[in-house]
Structure formats: C-alpha cells, structure tokens
C-alpha cells in the first residue's frame, strides 16, 4: 500500500521548481485529487512546526520546500553566489511590469520618466520578465509581463497576491492605505502669486 504523503513529500523534495496541485495530480493519476490535497495539507502542518529548518511554502501557484528566513545568515555562508541585489531602477521597472502587464517599453518609460532599455534587457536575461508578444497598435511594440521566476524570487503565490498599490495623498506621510477619490486637480485659483 503506497504512502501518498510520503510520495508527495519525495516529489516536492526533488522538484527543482514549485509544484502545482495540477501537476501533482498528473503525476499521481492513480490517486484521488482530494487525497493529494489532504497529503499536502498534512505536510504543510508537519513542516509548519516551530524550529523546522525546512518549510513548505505556497509560491508561484505551487508548493515548494524552502528554508525559513531566520536561517538565511547561515545559508549565505554556504552559497557561493552572492545574494541577489537589485538596483532601484530594476525594482521600479519590475514593479511597473508586475502591476501593469502586459505593458510596453514606452509605457514603462513614461511612468518612470527615464529610458529603460538597459534595465529591460537585464531583467529579461534574468528571466524575471518575458516578451508576451506584440501590441496591436501602430508600430507593434513588444509587450512584457512577469514570469514564474519573478513570483519565485519574491515569494509570491500568484500575481493576485501582490500588495495593492497604495494611492498617495501626501508625500510627507508616504502611503496612506485608503483608496482615494478623484484627484482635485482643477484649481483655478490663487497659486499664481507663488511664482
């Protein structure tokens, strides 16, 4: 009698990317989908206990074993590659693509106010974004979107779990959370003396 929980644990352990429930069900087609889900739940509970050096996280629409954040300092000694670091321009560009995809380079550059060619190439090479196709407007510009690797990098379950963009009311207290009404931009009056 095969032990489904053990099998799922093995599969998640050897997989080199997050494993979706769908893929698990394809691999384990002699098992019931509900049973597989139960096995996942049992594993999450087991690995969710305090003091574990391995945790089971939900990321990129799948499940993946990862190390807990509190051990990061020790693991950094192990990995030869230096921890990932992103420039501010790469992060801003990624954020814009993540929230506005599919998006063209021109739109990104309008939002950031600077040229983004170099940054786009870098994050394309890192596979954090991909070319989704061409936009059906004159000039047929390329459109970009984020990848599974993007979700994995930022430990996001899916794009919907991106935090909602904060509307800004006042710069001095950056980011008030509440949604904001129409911008009161028509003000015909007396700014003139300021100039």
């Amino acid at each position: 009698m095969p032990n489904l929980k053990s099998i799922v644990e093995s599969i998640l352990f050897v997989a080199d990317a997050p494993m979706t429930l769908d893929r698990l069900c394809t691999f384990l087609d002699e098992f019931d989908r509900g049973d597989i889900r139960d096995a996942l739940g049992a594993l999450q509970e087991e690995y969710g206990q305090d003091g574990r050096g391995v945790v089971l996280v939900e990321v990129a629409s799948g499940y993946q074993f990862r190390t807990p954040v509190e051990n990061a300092d020790y693991l950094r000694r192990l990995t030869k590659t230096r921890p990932v670091k992103f420039s501010q321009s790469a992060l801003e560009t990624l954020a814009i693509i993540a929230y506005r995809q599919p998006v063209t380079r021109a739109e990104i550059e309008y939002l950031r106010g600077v040229d983004c060619g170099g940054v786009l190439k870098t994050i394309l090479e890192k596979k954090l974004i991909k070319i989704l196709g061409k936009k059906d407007i004159p000039g047929k510009p390329l459109i970009y979107g984020t990848t599974r690797e993007f979700l994995e990098l930022f430990s996001l379950k899916d794009l919907r779990s991106l935090p909602t963009l904060k509307e800004i009311r006042d710069l001095s207290e950056t980011a008030s959370y509440e949604q904001q009404e129409e911008l009161p931009l028509e003000q015909p009056e007396d700014d003139r003396e300021l100039l």
Partner: protein, 266 residues
C-alpha cells in the same frame, strides 16, 4: 516579510565614483519628488518657482561635477519652465475661453509624480519580501535521484528572448569574422543569383526588400544587389515598381518556356 532594511537604493555606479557626494536620482520624477518632500510643499499645489529653481540648481551642480546629465533631466527642465510660463499667462478675459475651464497646467505633472511614487513604493515593498536567494533558499539543482534517471522524452523550455539573443550573437560573430577574414568570395554573385531564382520559383513576384535582410554583412548585401543587376542584364527578371514611391518588386521575366528557370541558369 522581514528584512526590509537590506536595501541598497543608490547603488548605481555613479554614486561611488565622485568625491563630492551628490544624491543620485532615478530620473527627473524622482528628483522632483525629492524636492517636493524636502520643501514640505503640497504636491497638489506645487510652488513652481521654488521647485524649478532648485531643480535647475541640481542640474547645474551635476554639470559642475562633470556628471553626464541624462536627456530626460533636460526635457523635464524645459517642461517645468513651460508650465511655469503657462501659469504666468493672464487668465483669458473673454467668456468663450473661460468656459473651457482650463486645467491647471501642473495637473499632468502632478498625476505623473503621484503615479511614479506609487511604483516607487511598490518597488520598496518588493525588496521587503522574502527574497529567494537572500532570505530563503530552495534546492536549485537537480536532485541526484532524478539525475540518475535518464529522461525518456525531452520537452523543451525556452523563452523567445533567448532565441533572439542567440541569433544576435551569431550575427555579431559573423559580421566580425567576415570583416576580418571571410571576404567577398564567401558569397559569390552566382550563388545569390541562384538563391534569388529559387526564391522566385513558383511565385509571380518577390518584394525587393525581401532580398535584403535587415542585418547581414555588407558583402552579402553587395552580392545580392549585383546579382539582381546581373539577372536584369540577362533578362531573367524584371524589376517593377507600381508607383513612384511604391515597393519594388522582382518578377520572373520568362513566364513561358516551362521548366525551371534555375535549371536554365545552372
């Protein structure tokens, strides 16, 4: 979500290479946001005289430090000045214009600044997340168990960008090599004649541009051009243009006489 303090916001190269410390901004919008915050002014009611003055002072400072000033900073400078001069114009007296109820000339800029600030915050919250390879680690290699089992079929995983990059590398290499050694004899006119004829085979016409791929080495282009001239001379093709500025088409000149044109040629 831990570890938000681990940021390195201004790590661009420029920031370290100058002795005088000048804050580095991501662009004109970033700089403007900084000035607005520094002066503690209302973003919906930007005092353009102050902000423009300080903006221009910053650019002047960059210039004095011999920093390369990105064009976007200058564009914004001119935008600021334009907006400023617009706000200086007297409100039109006649009713027609007043009815149009003109938007504050600063409105578009304010919208852009607020929008940009939103994504700046979003970028910040991204780095505050548990990042793979910084805060959390996964097994990023193929487990020995799997490596020992040879895959039977091999689906392929590849991104379009990788395909294009591969091609770009080939072309970079080719033009370099042909520049140094390959020389004109690598593509002969005769070869191109044959290729053009086989492209034409079974077709009524061919777009002239199709013979000149966008990126190819000079020798190829020259050989192609000479091949077309040669084919015209041999009366094997006709070069036609529907109108003066229209596309140029190449047509087989001999439609009769069955048999392959190419055979006749070779």
């Amino acid at each position: 979500m831990s570890n938000g303090g681990n940021l390195d916001l201004y790590q661009d190269e420029e920031s370290s290479s100058y002795t005088v410390k000048l804050e580095v901004f991501e662009g004109p919008l970033d700089l403007l946001l900084h000035l607005i915050r520094k002066n503690e002014v209302d973003i919906y009611d930007i005092p353009l005289s102050i902000i423009t003055k300080e903006y221009l002072e910053y650019i002047k400072m960059m210039k004095e430090l011999n920093l390369e000033i990105a064009g976007e900073f200058l564009v914004m400078a001119s935008t600021l000045i334009q907006i400023k001069s617009k706000t200086l114009l007297p409100t039109p007296a006649d009713e027609d214009a007043a009815e149009e109820e003109e938007e504050d000339p600063r409105a578009e800029l304010v919208r852009r600044l607020l929008e940009y600030q939103k994504y700046k915050d979003a970028a910040l919250s991204l780095t505050g997340r548990d990042m793979l390879g910084r805060d959390t680690y996964a097994r990023s290699f193929i487990s020995p168990e799997l490596a020992e089992m040879l895959p039977e079929e091999e689906p392929v995983e590849v991104e379009l960008f990788e395909l294009i990059e591969a091609f770009r590398k080939v072309l970079d290499r080719v033009s370099e090599e042909s520049f140094h050694e390959v020389g004109a004899e690598s593509i002969t006119i005769a070869e191109r004649i044959n290729e053009i004829l086989s492209l034409l085979e079974g077709k009524e016409s061919l777009l002239f541009d199709e013979l000149f791929p966008e990126h190819f080495n000079r020798d190829f282009l020259i050989a192609t051009f000479l091949a077309v001239l040669e084919l015209c001379k041999l009366k094997m093709v006709k070069v036609v243009q529907a109108n003066r500025y229209g596309s140029i088409w190449i047509q087989p000149a001999v439609m009769e006489g069955e048999g392959s044109l190419v055979d006749a040629e070779s």
